[in-house]
């Protein structure tokens, strides 16, 4: 079948969600009373009516082939009346009205290699980005990093034994597609060389737009071969790559100098404390595919130190704020460097402006 026979359709918008709702959900829509965690990856919502819907959650790599999607569809047909959904963190959820099917579904998922878990005080799936799979900006791969980290913290996905939820994110460049800037732990691909200005610049880029794109004003007008071009004041460049976003003749990639930084303590929920940005933990780790051992080790270190020291219900950022950053660096053994000290716009507000010091 091809679409050519039909009249051309535009602006129809997404399908109405109601079409895809389990009948029991449609019936009790907006009438849920409470929920219970039955096991890692399994929870149950109880409606005012007494109806119960059971959810089984499984981890996925997000990058899914149609082959696998068809397997998921088949599982849905078999266990959940054909109803399933994805979560905001790329997990898969089957919606069951029959609790007896939970265990068989779990068994089959696990046999297929899809872990059940990610609920409650677990490490859930890693929100991530395109990396070398599809993006021109990336300083690293994303899917590979996710795989390596999740392999290492797998038991934290299938168990719910952390002090609180722990959200990890990966982004392959400073654009931070995803939620790197507000995650408990974030892995961020970074460049460390200024853009390499290409001769094509005068043809393919608009110079004023390009100059305006630099947050630090590092890009200055320059004349190259009698044409309007630009020069980069290297000391003013902090490698954000925004110039490359607006101008393809300013590539940033550099196999030797690209790498990873690690950020901690961000959160999004309003539970207890206000949402927080992630803060720099490690300014640079080398890009070592396929297994990125340094990155994995750093993340595992943070998770373990957190698991050991945080109090119940304390997110990573809440824990660090309680114990203080100096202790965070002591406990993890991470080196504190000049890079940790902010020197962008609001830097002065991050200085320690009280005599409150721990010794």
């Amino acid at each position: 079948m091809t679409a050519s026979a039909e009249p051309r359709l535009t602006d129809i918008g997404p399908p109405h969600y109601e079409k895809y709702l389990h009948p029991l959900i449609k019936k009790n829509y907006g009438q849920w009373r409470y929920h219970e965690n039955l096991a890692p990856g399994v929870y149950c919502h109880i409606a005012e009516s007494g109806d119960r819907i059971y959810t089984v959650r499984a981890g996925t790599p997000r990058l899914l082939s149609i082959q696998t999607l068809r397997i998921f569809a088949g599982l849905a047909d078999k266990y959940s009346g054909g109803y399933l959904r994805f979560t905001s963190r790329n997990n898969l959820e089957f919606l069951l009205d029959d609790p007896a099917r939970i265990e068989p579904l779990k068994r089959e998922l696990i046999a297929l290699g899809y872990p059940v878990g990610g609920t409650n005080n677990a490490i859930s799936n890693i929100v991530h980005t395109q990396g070398w799979i599809h993006c021109h900006s990336s300083a690293t791969d994303a899917s590979g990093l996710v795989k390596c980290v999740m392999d290492a913290v797998y038991d934290r996905f299938t168990h719910e034994d952390l002090p609180a939820k722990l959200r990890i994110a990966v982004a392959c460049c400073l654009n931070m597609c995803g939620a790197v800037h507000c995650s408990d732990i974030a892995i961020l691909g970074v460049h460390r060389l200024p853009p390499k200005i290409q001769p094509t610049l005068t043809k393919v880029c608009e110079v004023p737009t390009l100059i305006a794109a630099c947050p630090t004003g590092a890009i200055r007008p320059a004349t190259v071969d009698g044409k309007n071009s630009v020069a980069v004041v290297e000391q003013q460049c902090m490698y954000c790559g925004n110039c490359y976003t607006v101008c393809s003749a300013m590539p940033m990639n550099d196999a030797d100098n690209d790498g990873l930084s690690i950020w901690v303590g961000g959160k999004v929920s309003n539970a207890r404390s206000a949402p927080k940005f992630s803060k720099l933990a490690i300014p640079f780790l080398p890009n070592h595919p396929p297994r990125w051992p340094e990155v994995v080790e750093a993340v595992v270190k943070i998770v373990e130190v957190y698991a050991q020291h945080a109090r119940k219900y304390e997110r990573v950022g809440e824990w660090i704020e309680r114990i203080g950053w100096p202790r965070f660096f002591q406990l993890t053994g991470f080196e504190f460097t000049r890079y940790h000290i902010d020197d962008f716009k609001h830097a002065a507000l991050t200085y320690a402006r009280s005599a409150h010091v721990r010794y």
Binding site: K19, P61, A76, L84, W132, C148, N270, R272, H346
Partner: protein, 396 residues
Amino acid sequence: MPDDNPKTELLDELENGPWPSFVKEVKLAAQTSASAQDLLRQLELSYQEKKGHWKHGGLVGVLGYGGGVIGRYSDAGEQFPNVAHFHTIRVNQPAGWFYTSDALRTICDIWERHGSGLTNMHGSTGDLILLGTRTAELEPTFQELAQAGFDLGGSGSSFRTPSCCVGMARCEWACYDAMKLCYDLTMAYQDEMHRPPFPYKFKLKCAACPNDCVAAIARADLSIIGTWKDEIQVDESAVKTYVSSGLNIQKDVCDLCPTKCMAWDGHKLSIENHECVRCMHCINVMPQALRPGKERGAVIMIGGKAPIMQGALLSSVLIPFVAADELLDTVKELLRRIWDFWDEYGNNRERIGELIQRVGLPAFLDGIGLEPVPEMISAPRDNPYIFYQARKDGEK
């Protein structure tokens, strides 16, 4: 059809380990897709060289739309001809990411015919992403999707695909119908989504309570976060059940309440509701005993975004409370005014949050006709650099 198996020594390593492997997925797709095969090859090269091989995206798309497709070309197109073009299509997901097995299969079938067979379920903004196809396939894919009831999402300087938490569909804390609002707004702004009219992208996310399961506050230019105005609903006997089954209510609830507005005297939990900031913590801990109040609605927040270029922003309060049944109209009217202001004063590639920072929140409020209220700020100014407008003559 692929004729030989790509050699992927480095990638093969990523098939080991317990977490499901994306490499396995690409290999699965590669069984039937030449572009997935070349993707594997190019990726292996990237892993060897520690360097991406994609060129700066070109402007490609479907007829009459200015977005929804991310153009992508390989810089090693001769070596990997099947990914020489490798554009992705952003398909607007159903609200709440609900599917039936049939809907999934429909998508798979279309994508099998027209693309790499690879997807992201889902992109960070929320779209269902069809990962990689050639320019010529874009229009046919689009039309087949449309016939099946799917449309494209946003990209470029457009209204981006809104997303929402599961809300009333399966959550007892939903303070408004996030899926419906998300759907209604998506439908209302098809034009703004498909024909980029703005200085830059504009994202909207709906979270039906302050837990914000869709990370709106961090990632959306307009965040609609459910909340309530009246008193937390308390089921006393359920409180007692929690306590008798081992909950340390003083330590785990009262002490962690950010305003310390809860007290437990050993028998009764009392809440000074006018001090409660609706953080959800106590409710999260005791879902059977506590529930949001009955007068429900949302706080509207503005300006969240990632760091490029003036630094990341968290959304901040714009309207402290809108009743649930007034949300759609209020948000639409608000968007009209915000977009007018942005249109007039926004620089190229300036997100709304950055514009507000640049002109100042007071000027922005003037511009969109909202009165300042103290809920918009965490504290009044501490610098005395006040742009007084009133003069003696003006005043009396």
